[in-house]
Amino acid sequence: MAEESKPSEKPEIKQPDAGTPPAPKSVSAAASPAAPKPAPPPPKPPPAVQLPLDNELVRRYRERFGAAILDAVEDRKQPYLVIDSAQLHEIARYSRDEEKLDLLEDYTAVDWPRREKRFDLVAILYSFPHNIRLRLKIPVALGEHPASIVDIWPTANWLEREIFDMFGIEFSGHPGLKRILLPDEWQGYPLRKDYDILQQDTAWVRENLGIDSGQ
């Protein structure tokens, strides 16, 4: 599944510029009187949901961090920035202090096994004064140690532990990085794509539960 998704996702981020939304509309308008057959295209246009974003906010980020802002995209009217993991800590601090994105609403990860940088860390920020949300996406390679942001948002403590628990991403500078939902001795990271839904740490289950399988 992951293999299929990767190619389909990448081009779409770049494409919308080419003016995909207006084009199919004109096709359907022209075609509908002729024959009902070409009607199927109309449901297709919505896929142009990712648009490059360039507003005040993004410009401020770009001005400040330059090349560390790898991309700025609007997906279904929700903005996100793709940022360089090396600058994660500085960008996080800037977001909280200067942009007043004061709440780290959620912090999670997505696994893309076929990508060069396997994981996307996703931080969802909310600003109480401005009532806006911004997502930061941080591509992280396997074995990389992104900086912990617990000192900026204490709420990241458990959220980073959960990311570590489920994806095996280790944060440098975290005050006590250990598993949170699974047992401490558990082997494997369940939310990685190569971890099957029926997979389990059989040795742990046998030793601690006294059964062969929890399934």
Partner: protein, 380 residues
């Protein structure tokens, strides 16, 4: 600032005990931890010096299951997270997938959703009130609260056949049309409920034991709440007038008038007062909503097979316990590529350590109660 540094230092050396300190294990099988929460308390006499929460006993891997189910198949699973507020979970999930698909539920569906969700908020708060008071030693409110909750569950049962894990909504609108007499039932409940709230108030609000056990217990400042991500009534009790139903309205909340109650001290008593006022406000929303339920379809135009275009969405709602968020990544297939659920209980529980330090062991129970956690949601 110096305060936090010091705290971090103690947390790091959690296993190193001072001469007078000992570690007390509370839970996971303890009635007042509201489920399977285990807390390790480092205590000095009766004073709590540090804590560590051990969670995960109810972990079922809901997010992994989501990646292996279609969008519709996963909907009933979300009911099993916060199982005392299943309808709120369902609303959040359905709305998120709708946003991912770029469809909107019809007006009638949105209003009925709002009514049911507000009833669910009342039911959830009643469970909180009854058990919280019970933990502190007031036995009576529990019976009263469950009596009123029963009326709400009867409405749910009449509506969709289920009482607890309802799966009441469908992606795109509603699964079922409201039954005959739905408005009457809701109205009867709401009319009666005003008197019932007064009963709880008579029992607790001015009760000197209640005040003694809750005033200045587990104080959180507004800045602490935001830093720790604590949301919902906890945030409001600390004086932040913020509610997602007002800040970023969803369902039909923009059509109704209601107040956001706030506290001043951010202690357990204020959180009690905020939730009591929320009961009244939810009742008012229900009464406004049943006055004028629009007619029309209850299900929007959604296909039988859902294939949202590749991309991602984040949507959050004000669940009874705080911000409930869903982050869904679609790869264009019928199954979500990734579903992340931001559970309010999990994040709120993180504030526990901050709230409990320096208090007595007996206050631990009050503070777990005031956090209003559901372990099904903490562990997922």
């Amino acid at each position: 600032m110096a305060d936090t540094v010091q705290e971090d230092a103690t947390q790091k050396n959690g296993t190193l005990l001072g001469a007078d300190e000992l570690v007390l294990n509370m839970g996971p099988q303890h009635p007042s931890t509201h489920g399977v929460l285990r807390v390790k308390l480092k205590i000095d006499g009766e004073r709590v010096r540090g804590t560590e929460c051990v969670i995960g006993y109810l972990h079922r891997g809901v997010e992994k299951i989501a990646e292996n189910r279609t969008y519709q198949q996963f909907a009933p699973y979300v009911d099993r997270m916060d199982y005392v507020a299943a309808i709120s979970n369902g609303l959040g999930y359905c709305e998120t997938v709708e946003k991912l698909l770029n469809v909107e539920a019809p007006a009638r569906a949105r209003v009925i959703r709002t009514i049911l969700t507000e009833l669910q908020r009342i039911a959830s708060h009643l469970i909180w009130l009854g058990t919280h008071a019970l933990d502190i030693g007031a036995l009576t409110p529990l019976f009263y609260c469950l009596r009123e909750r029963e009326e709400i569950l009867k409405i749910f049962e009449k509506y969709c056949g289920a009482r607890l894990t309802t799966h009441a909504f469908r992606i795109g609108g509603l699964q079922y049309e409201a039954y005959d007499g739905f408005e009457k039932d809701v109205e009867r409940f709401c009319k009666d409920f005003e008197r019932r709230i007064q009963e709880y108030v008579d029992l607790l609000t001015g009760n000197s034991i209640w005040i003694g056990r809750t005033r200045n217990v587990g104080v959180l400042s507004a800045a602490d709440c935001i830093a720790l991500g604590a949301s919902g009534p906890i945030l409001r009790a600390s004086g932040v007038k913020w509610d997602l139903r007002k800040a970023q309205p969803y369902a039909a909340y923009d059509q109704y008038k209601f107040e956001i109650p706030v506290g001043t001290n951010g202690d357990t008593y204020d959180r009690y007062m905020v939730r009591m006022e929320e009961l009244r406000q939810s009742r008012l929303i229900c009464l406004q909503a049943i006055e004028n339920i629009p007619t029309g379809p209850i299900l929007g135009k959604v296909g039988k097979v859902l294939k949202p275009p590749a991309g991602e969405i984040y949507h959050s709602i004000e669940a009874p316990k705080g911000i409930l968020g869903y982050y869904i990544v679609s790869d264009g297939t019928t199954q979500p590529y990734r579903v992340r659920i931001r559970p309010p209980s999990f994040v709120n529980l993180q504030a526990f350590d901050k709230m409990v330090r320096g208090h007595l062991v007996a206050d631990v129970v009050a503070i777990i109660g005031t956090l209003d956690i559901v372990l099904g949601e903490v562990d997922r």
